[in-house]
Amino acid sequence: MEGKVRIGFYALTSCYGCQLQLAMMDELLQLLPHAEIVCWFMLERDSYEDEPVDIAFIEGSVSTEEEVELVRKIRENAKIVVAVGSCAVHGGVQSWEKDKSLEELWKTVYGDGKVKFEPKMAEPVENYIKVDYRIYGCPPEKRDFLYALGTFLVGSWPEDIDYPVCVECRLKGHPCILIEKGEPCLGPITRAGCDARCPGFGVACIGCRGAIGYDVAWFDSLARTFKEKGISKEEILQRMKMFNAHNPKLEEMVEKIFQGVEE
């Protein structure tokens, strides 16, 4: 890209962690001479949601009618739209109970209370507008930002990672939490890029970077291992829904991998 690249960082409903991750990067200071921040309310008082930008980063899930309007406006104004983090890409943990009705959730939490805004069930940005690139993670790793930004700035296009956390976990030499401890680690089906951060601390992967594209071979062996360890289909489904609730193929796929295990 020539001249200063115009960047906007927009927030929908989220914990603000993706923005915080970017704001905390010392490397940001090196980027600044090449970029103009048009909109980034978390850091910039003079922010404009309506201005044209080269790259629009959107974090958060679409959770109000107002946010539906906002993402449409951002799309109109942006050359490249990047969905950042698990909320924007997958609907976020707030989608965990997406099969319940909004009314039911509302009543549980607000009772009969009303507010003047129009809430809706959390959804990924892609349900409303075309997204050009996704940065995965809850939150994304700093290097995810560096890679994407750096690649865009040299006028190229970043690529998705298409292998699971297990690959990185093996390379790091961590003990296998699934096989050795029998815990429901989602490493085998979760998109890599975190260097198997959680298994490195002896904690099972919860799948925060989302599932890698389905229809891949390791699903079968994973199903076998899950079953051997006494982890039920329902348990896996519930756990996978934490960060993948909106995936239309999730139930079908989990069903399939368990059926695939012949004794």
């Binding site: 905390m24 910039e44 109000t64 509302w106 009303k114 959390a122 904690v203």
Partner: protein, 427 residues
């Protein structure tokens, strides 16, 4: 201005965490209405975690807020452990508090330097301060990096830590890393003191001067800190954490996805200044000295004093962190984790998050969350924040642009975590 109704609105308050706006309606030479609009969407955290496995719910709760994810994680874990009847060993408690302190240092440094300071120095964005204020930005980055690194080492990462689990930690750093942590903390102390001196020079606007009810968690062990089992009020009243619902009453208000809270029908404040007001006698070390010499600035009557109180806490928590690491090292080697049996029960944990009292009440049944109630500092503070915005509006409604600026500064002084406040609890 007779009969003219003038709306003064800030649609999207900048440099806070989350999305909120302010609406001020002026008419007949007076301020008619002041509303702090929380426009962040609802996320139903309690509702979505009820019925879920305890460990999975504990992984989701920190996602309420990134600025204080360690606070959420550790408070949720403590509530869950109280519910199942487990008490962690002292050294584990000490190390958890060090992790929490990492969050405190990072959060306070970010708030003070990146969100608050630009207003005082006349910048719209902290990144624009780099050339002119090299030293300040350098200190901001150093303190922020220190806090983040502490959370990386003890929590697995700076945002959404997975390494704090029921029974302890998944893994602990080695002794050398903890020694290094002590060293880095000690080296950061002069920078925290510089921060305090810097913020002691900044104006606290007298427009918002007035009585404030302060609430803070009464620290365990009589040492200024984060964990506690009772809440103290600046009127002298004290109640056990389990009674939080009796004295911190929440109501749904029409203009906000976050509820408002009241103590005996009155708004109250929580946060660094409330901790200092209620528990300064439990400070020690350099922070104690700074408190004594700056008591007139750390006063209970002005929300802007919260900024300086955060700076004071940077000094305090750096020294406290070193002492807690020493406590853990005295028992080295420390086993990271104990087996826990997940029994049925109910537990309430109240801790001091960077922005104030954080409440988690969890009921566990058959290994699952049966009930969850979470109330965050910003939700507690919203009613009080509205009072202070109104006070500012009453003085400046004739100069809308200046009022907008000052309004944002008032809100920012609270360091609101608007995402947090939209967690929303069961009624």
């Amino acid at each position: 201005m007779k009969n003219l109704y003038l709306p003064i609105t800030v649609d999207h308050i900048a440099r806070v965490e989350g999305k909120g706006g302010v609406e001020i309606v002026v008419g007949d030479d007076s301020v008619k209405e002041v509303k702090l609009n929380i426009i962040e969407g609802p996320r139903f955290f309690e509702a979505i975690t009820v019925g879920k496995k305890l460990d999975e719910a504990l992984a989701v709760y920190p996602r309420i807020c990134s600025f204080c994810s360690a606070a959420h994680k550790l408070t949720a874990v403590e509530a869950a452990e109280k519910a199942i009847g487990f008490t962690p060993r002292e050294e584990i408690q000490a190390l958890r508090e060090v992790l929490y302190i990492g969050d405190m240092i990072e959060s306070h440094a970010l708030h003070l330097y990146l969100l608050v300071l630009p207003d005082y120095l006349g910048y719209s964005n902290p990144l624009k301060m780099v050339d002119e204020y090299k030293k300040e930005i350098g200190i901001a980055l150093e303190l922020k990096n220190l806090g983040s690194w502490m959370m990386d080492e003890l929590g697995s990462r700076a945002i959404h830590q997975e390494n704090a689990v029921l029974g302890g930690f998944g893994k602990l750093p080695d002794k050398a890393t903890l020694e290094l942590m002590k060293k880095r903390l000690s080296e950061a102390l002069p920078k925290a003191e510089y921060t305090f001196e810097l913020f002691a020079k900044l104006e606290q606007y007298e427009e918002v001067e007035g009585p404030i009810i302060h609430m803070a968690v009464k620290p365990r062990g009589d040492v200024y800190g984060i964990y506690g089992d009772a809440i103290s009020v600046s009127d002298g009243f004290e109640f056990p954490s389990e009674d939080y619902k009796k004295y911190m009453v929440e109501r749904v208000v029409e203009h906000s996805f976050a509820k408002h809270s009241f103590y005996r029908e009155k708004p109250f404040m929580t946060g660094a200044i409330s901790r200092v007001v209620n528990h300064a006698d439990k400070l020690y070390g350099r922070a104690k000295e700074l408190y004594e010499s700056h008591r007139d600035l750390l006063r209970p009557t002005n929300p802007f004093a919260n900024n300086l109180a955060q700076a004071l806490e940077l000094v305090y928590f750096i020294e406290r962190g070193v002492d807690l690491i020493d406590e853990a090292l005295a028992k080295w080697p420390v086993r990271p984790r104990d087996e826990v049996e997940i029994r049925d029960g109910f537990g309430v944990s109240t801790t001091e998050a960077p922005r104030g009292i954080l409440v988690y009440a969890l009921e566990v049944k058959d290994g699952r969350v049966a009930y969850a109630d979470i109330i965050t500092p910003t939700a507690f503070n919203l009613a009080m924040m509205e009072v202070h915005v109104r006070m500012m509006a009453e003085k400046h409604y004739n100069e809308p642009e200046r009022l907008k600026y000052l309004t944002e500064m008032v809100v920012r002084a609270y360091d609101p975590c608007i995402s947090c406040s939209v967690h929303v609890a069961k009624l």
